[in-house]
Symmetry: C2
Subunit: 505 residues, 2 copies
């Protein structure tokens, strides 16, 4: 950004300071998940809360509002797609959102979220929905209150969806999901009518150190830059950004399941390459982040699924994987391995689901969020509703809430509303972006089969990564693919891949 305008420079400086404080909170969170000794937990919670409060106070300070108002006329002198106009526009959008929610409410809700998380962390292994029910009822109440700080919505979930996926509404997502569902349900039926794939080859003992080394070697070759990142172990994998020069990923390793760490590493590296690829000029500004939950997820799923579960990818990597685990995989043919990592089944747990059924899990949660917010479903009826819906959509249901309504952290550490649609939007977009990349460079599949990822990485860099949050999700999709969001490439991808795998008519 060549913003030599003193007023823009001043805004950038103020925002950079706020960003420094938020980055510090991110480092403290990362440390808590990776290396912090147990005794540090109590003070750490307070330290993070203090930093977040300082960042919030500094950002919602009236002087920022005044600066943004004063910049309105200057903004119009820059082209809408300039860094300068985008900076002012996105900063104003963030500011307008932030000032609408009273600090006292944030403090109250935030404390409630921590308490709910603690309760859930105990209740889930104990299979005890009753223990968290009052917390969740309060969460629903707070989620409604949060939405109501943004009056004028069509659906009460709209403001909450908008936080994560700007420009999306309950109605849009609902229509999109209905369309997708119409395609997915018969596909799942057709697949599950076939004999299930054999994935025992993934269920042997794979020592942790070799799993980690292999995963790191893979994502390095995909383009994740370890000079500007690193991988550590945590209970749940995540990606976190401290600066554009320090974007870290984490993973967990199950020694009896080869796919778990490997695909989570590729998934998180996909998120991380997005943030590592943001133009350095945007550092410290609100543009230096992914543009939406859906677009962010599209980048992780593209690498994890369209690339990382593809046949071409393993044509290159499988001999290397066999060399890393000769005793376990030496006599397993590539085709058997490929089928194993793409096994489709009706299952209970979202995070373990294959790419075909995964979206059905997401839609269940999305629909429940809407019904809860609308008041059509009560929290006390949720466990039973969950079982019924799983039976209807996936043909199975667990008698245990720990594998049902208690399985996901989202509602128990955050809000109800806006938490899930990004996963399926990401799946849809991953195929739409990949399709566009292939139209631009039809040689990409052959390159992948030779372990070359530069062309694909560069296309993503050029069309998505570099822009950060400068363009909205809708703008990015339009610019990168020439079309608005469409499920067509995703459906085509699933039909082709799984049609071949399961020999469907």
């Amino acid at each position: 950004m060549n913003a030599t305008e003193p007023k823009i420079e001043e805004l950038k400086q103020r925002l950079a300071e706020i960003n420094d404080v938020r980055s510090a909170a991110a480092v403290l969170n990362w440390d808590q998940m990776t290396y912090m000794p147990p005794g540090g937990a109590e003070a750490r919670g307070r330290q993070v809360a203090t930093l977040e409060q300082i960042a919030h106070e500094k950002f919602t300070h009236p002087s920022i509002g005044r600066m943004l108002t004063e910049l309105r006329s200057l903004e119009r002198t820059f082209p809408a797609d300039s860094d300068e106009a985008a900076l002012i526009r996105i900063a104003r959008r963030d500011y307008d959102r932030a000032v609408k929610v009273p600090p006292a409410f944030i403090a109250k809700f935030s404390a409630h979220q921590s308490a709910t998380y603690e309760a859930w962390a105990k209740a889930r292994p104990a299979n005890d929905f009753a223990a968290v029910r009052p917390y969740l009822e309060k969460t629903l109440e707070y989620s409604r209150e949060l939405a109501n700080y943004f009056p004028g919505y069509d659906h009460i979930a709209d403001p909450l969806i908008d936080f994560a996926d700007f420009g999306m509404k309950a109605a849009t997502v609902r229509a999109l999901f209905a369309e997708l569902r119409k395609e997915l349900v018969p596909l799942v039926q057709a697949i599950t009518a076939q004999p299930t794939a054999d994935d025992t080859c993934l269920r042997q003992k794979f020592p942790e150190a070799q799993q980690l080394a292999f995963g790191c070697a893979v994502v390095k070759q995909l383009g994740y830059d370890f000079q500007r990142g690193r991988q550590d172990k945590t209970h749940h994998p995540f990606c976190t950004t401290f600066s554009l020069g320090d974007v870290r990923i984490t993973t967990r390793v199950k020694e009896d399941n080869l796919g778990d760490a490997l695909f989570s590493t590729i998934h998180e590296a996909g998120h991380a390459m997005y943030e590592q690829g943001i133009r350095r000029e945007l550092e410290g500004t609100p543009l230096a982040r992914g543009t939406s939950s859906g677009v962010h997820e599209s980048q992780s799923r593209l690498w994890e699924n369209l690339v990382g579960r593809g046949r071409g990818f393993w044509r290159y990597f499988y001999p290397k994987l066999q060399a890393a685990f000769p005793a376990q995989l030496g006599s397993v043919p590539l085709d058997m391995f490929y089928r194993a990592i793409n096994k489709v089944e009706r299952s209970l747990i979202r995070t373990d689901a294959d790419e075909v059924t995964y979206n059905l899990h997401v839609m269940i949660r999305f629909d429940f969020e809407l019904q809860l917010l609308e008041g059509k479903l009560a929290v006390r009826d949720l466990p039973e509703a969950w079982r019924e819906r799983y039976k209807a959509d996936l043909g199975i249901a667990s008698p245990h809430d720990r594998d049902g309504v208690l399985q996901d952290v989202h509602w128990f550490g955050g809000q109800i509303g806006g938490s899930f649609q990004g996963y399926t939007l990401g799946n849809i977009l991953s195929a739409q972006f990949y399709d566009a990349a292939l139209r631009a460079s039809p040689g990409i599949p052959d390159q992948i089969a030779n372990g070359e990822f530069t062309t694909l990485h560069s296309w993503l860099q050029e069309n998505i990564y570099q822009h950060g949050a400068k363009f909205t999700a809708n703008e990015i999709v339009k610019r990168a693919t020439g079309q608005p969001l469409t499920i067509e490439p995703y459906i085509r991808y699933l039909r082709t891949k799984y049609g071949e795998l399961y020999k469907l008519g």
Copy 2:
């Protein structure tokens, strides 16, 4: 602290918030030294600076000054040795100091210190004093300016010494060091007239993993709590506190030198046990830290030297060390090992020096600090003065500045003045405290020889650790030992130990 007084509660809350921000900066520094990828460096420097500036602004805010003024009358209603009175007293002392230095000066000096550090990090391996000379001249200028924000001193070094060792002055330290020197010089002469000890047993190859495991096992047994701490590797060992429940140490390992990691681990654990032992009621206040540089160092040196280099300690631990390194030490007798870890020699590098000559290294630096500040020594003459003084005091001198004036980071990352006296004050106090502990519990040496450290640890906990910065160094020494600071126990300790080791008359 049972401070139910609303005004004290309010002060504590404000100070806790500032402490949270400082702790966050400490986490960011730790991360930078341990795990941060190279690409993170640039933004990290700015993030830490932002946090430090926020903490400084919040602490020097006039409202803190008003609160402290208003608390004067309340302070008098509490006994001087109550937590409440101490909190107000120490907070006021910190505040009065902080507001005397203009923020613009801090920013300027801080930027200069970073630049000097960068220049030194290149100049030291290149043996290039000329490259850092202009930086150091500026540092001297800034150090004088800093001191001059505290007018009314007897010696210009006094304010700088006072920051680190409250209550100490150049004249006091000078007199104390002269007294100690009179004892040390003949002792060093007598020892070095004897045949040097053979320490080749320490100079074999000792694999890193076993060194780290042994060091951790040792400090765990001494009382370092790994539930509230951890050890990581860094270029230079240090101890850092994020909260009383999270006090971490770092070490470095040289595979060809067994003593290096082991004694640095014990040293840093000594610092850490001090901070882990501070009463939880003081958490978040300015009392939750070591009381002075000298007292802090006394805790690391007590464990490192008086305990960790003692014969009784190794009577217990040596068989375990031999079991960890059977090929290297299996046939080395305890006595040979004990002599090796206590080898005295005239050497060039302070951090590698034995406990007898160590203080001579410190005194050289202390004297130079005074002369530089007084204007009696010019920076350009420092390398030559260094060589002359080393020849005079230690009988050797390096032609290379990298092993001379460039060896210590202190002047190149901080200020000139107040940086070194704490090391020797710590040595003196380590013996005075240990002597008092033994008077209270004469069984301690026998317990140590049986691997029991609880009595000693509890004495330190009771008399030193728990109080944090509630009492000044002078008060702590008086309370814990019944006497003011005295070199007598330290001299007696050295004479006894080294008289026996080197068979001196």
